[in-house]
């Protein structure tokens, strides 16, 4: 389990003043959980993720993994942390090297983390991962440009899964995807969490998307967690004014559900 306690990070601004990007943030991601973090731009969510990835050093507070301080991890323990916590970013076109084939992208982590594995085993594992995320293994020698946005995001997920992480940190993973395609990625993430026990830390601005995936949701505003609640509690009885504003801003669709006769049947055959 990952535990963030009292995390604080200030950035210097012009002159002597500074701005608190994170101001005493507590957050827990238990094994196998799906934890949502909602925040608008400037909320500090990116800084929090950068601290989690050790790209940024917090001023105070701590991040621990199974009780060990992440900031003090060195050598093999650090490599282990980097393997256990994988990240999927918003824009798969920016995060996937365009000159590498799908196979190279997916197996890179296995090589880096020195999994003792023959090339043949590795290839078999690549194919298995591609199938797992709903891609055709026969396309393993293509490059990212020949895939759609949703497919690219699934390549990024296969790449993250290749090293068997315990936690998948998702930073707005569907914000850049078209509606008909984002459902492919959301369903895949939901399945991996519910069936395979992969923990998710899912960061997004879209409340409905977070609600679809997460059991517990924290609302981050100006570097502070203003509310943390279970999914149902957050939407039925939000406590913070800010949470209420966010929920009120979601377009009202309550009366706009398709009538039963007009839904897309047969849905089962359409699953990817």
């Amino acid at each position: 389990m990952i535990e963030v306690t009292g995390l604080t990070k200030h950035f210097r601004t012009r002159g002597a003043s500074s701005v608190a990007a994170l101001d005493g943030v507590d957050l827990r991601v238990p094994d196998g959980a799906a934890v949502g973090l909602v925040g608008e731009s400037g909320s500090g969510k990116s800084t929090l993720l950068r601290c989690l990835m050790r790209l940024e050093q917090a001023d105070s507070g701590s991040i621990t993994v199974d009780g060990a301080d992440v900031a003090r991890l060195r050598g093999r323990a650090l490599a282990g942390y980097r393997r256990d916590v994988q990240t999927v970013f918003q824009d798969p076109m920016a995060s996937l090297n365009p000159r590498m084939t799908v196979r190279q992208l997916v197996e890179e982590g296995m090589i880096v983390h020195r999994r003792r594995m023959s090339a043949q085993r590795r290839l078999a594992r690549v194919d298995e991962l591609l199938e797992r995320v709903g891609l055709d293994p026969a396309h393993r020698d293509r490059r990212p440009a020949s895939f759609s946005g949703g497919q690219r995001q699934r390549i990024a997920i296969a790449r993250a899964l290749a090293v068997e992480p315990r936690v998948l940190v998702c930073d707005e993973p569907v914000a850049a995807l078209d509606v008909s395609i984002q459902a492919q990625v959301l369903n895949l993430l939901a399945d991996m969490n519910r069936n395979d026990g992969l923990a998710l830390l899912f960061v997004a601005h879209d409340l409905a998307v977070v609600r679809y995936l997460c059991d517990e949701i924290s609302v981050l505003r100006q570097g502070r967690i203003v509310e943390r609640a279970t999914r149902d509690a957050l939407f039925t009885s939000p406590q913070a004014d800010y949470t209420r504003e966010l929920i009120a801003a979601v377009p009202d669709q309550a009366e706009l559900r398709p009538a039963a006769d007009y839904t897309l049947t047969p849905t089962e055959t359409l699953e990817v």
Partner: protein, 328 residues
């Protein structure tokens, strides 16, 4: 066709071709038809690559490198093939337009007031009168203390305020049609809701027609009277907004609606398999056939025409709605 007679804007049989480096062309838009009546708010919904933005930009002739054929009539005037003078007269005066990213639409070195006044100055209005009109418009858009804010520069404004400035620029000339291309996509959730509300209020109070381009079916219900759905460069469905949500006729529209996470139910999302075809490899038949659970041989062989649907709109589907549901 009474719709076309009453319409302020009528697009018919629109095709748009883009040049490719090898000298050939690729057809970005392949048969779009839509109409906007005076004061009507129409949402043009489509995913990236559907051709919705390029269609909107073609109305004002903003991409001269593209070849546009078919017809775009505004208030009786044909805009396809119109000379620069005609287009210049329509732009900003009869038709205002706002884009997704307000910052790239604003000049960082010019005060907000002068920028909003610019369209009026361009037609020869005196500066003082133009600035007065700009201030009124900014106030109409809910900007408190508009007089003082007129002297600010764009970087001093938040994203939502910048979008109000861009809206003011589009509205200061009192156009009859506003084309809004994803105007809230780059904004935070709460600001997005405010801007949508503002747009709806202003359109209602001015009797302004709006063509609202969006990929987000969620925002359609709050604004639109009618919805036009585009897929792979073609209009696949038009419907009054209530029917769009409650009785969607085209399988793609149904898939789109079932793919959106919602706050009011926990059903598993329907994910359409695959992705839209690229414009250069659009199939001969229905462009959606490869992703459609209902597709038959005729769907792959023949392109379905846009024809009246059972719900008071139009649909381009060989099967809808008789075969695929709502048989009652």
């Amino acid at each position: 066709m009474t719709m076309a007679e009453q319409a302020l804007l009528t697009i018919d049989g629109l095709a748009i071709d883009a040049p490719r480096p090898d000298g050939s062309t690729v057809r970005l838009v392949d048969g779009v038809g839509l109409a906007v009546a005076p004061g009507e708010r129409v949402a043009l919904v489509g995913e990236s690559g559907s051709g919705k933005s390029v269609t909107a930009r073609a109305i004002l002739g903003l991409d001269p490198e593209l070849t546009v054929t078919g017809s775009i009539r505004f208030d009786g005037r044909e805009l396809v093939g119109a000379d620069r003078k005609t287009l210049a007269a329509v732009r900003g005066r009869d038709i205002g337009m706002v884009f997704q990213d307000p910052l790239s639409a604003l000049d960082p070195l010019m005060t907000v007031g002068d920028q909003i006044a610019q369209p009026l100055r361009a037609r020869g209005m005196r500066r003082s009168a133009a600035l007065a009109a700009a201030e009124r418009t900014l106030g109409e858009l809910g900007v408190a203390d508009a007089r003082r804010r007129m002297r600010s520069y764009p970087h001093e404004f938040s994203g939502g305020m910048r979008q109000r400035v861009v809206l003011a620029m589009a509205l200061v000339g009192e156009p009859r049609l506003l084309i809004a291309d994803e105007p809230t996509t780059a904004l935070d959730v709460r600001v997005q809701a405010q801007v949508m509300q503002l747009l709806t209020d202003v359109a209602a109070s001015r009797g302004l027609a709006v063509l609202f381009i969006t990929h987000d079916v969620g925002v359609v219900g709050d604004l639109a009277d009618r919805t036009v759905v585009m897929y792979s460069g073609r209009t696949v469905e038009t419907a009054p907004v209530g029917d769009f949500f409650r009785r969607p006729a085209h399988p793609y529209t149904r898939g789109l609606l079932a793919a959106v996470p919602r706050l009011d139910h926990d059903d598993r999302l329907v994910s359409l398999p695959g992705a839209p075809p690229r414009p250069e490899s659009r199939p001969v038949g229905c462009a959606f056939a490869d992703r459609c659970a209902f597709a038959t041989a005729v769907c792959r062989a023949e392109r379905p025409p846009l024809r009246p649907s059972a719900t008071g709109g139009e649909v381009a589907c060989h099967l809808a709605p008789e075969t695929i549901g709502a048989a009652s």
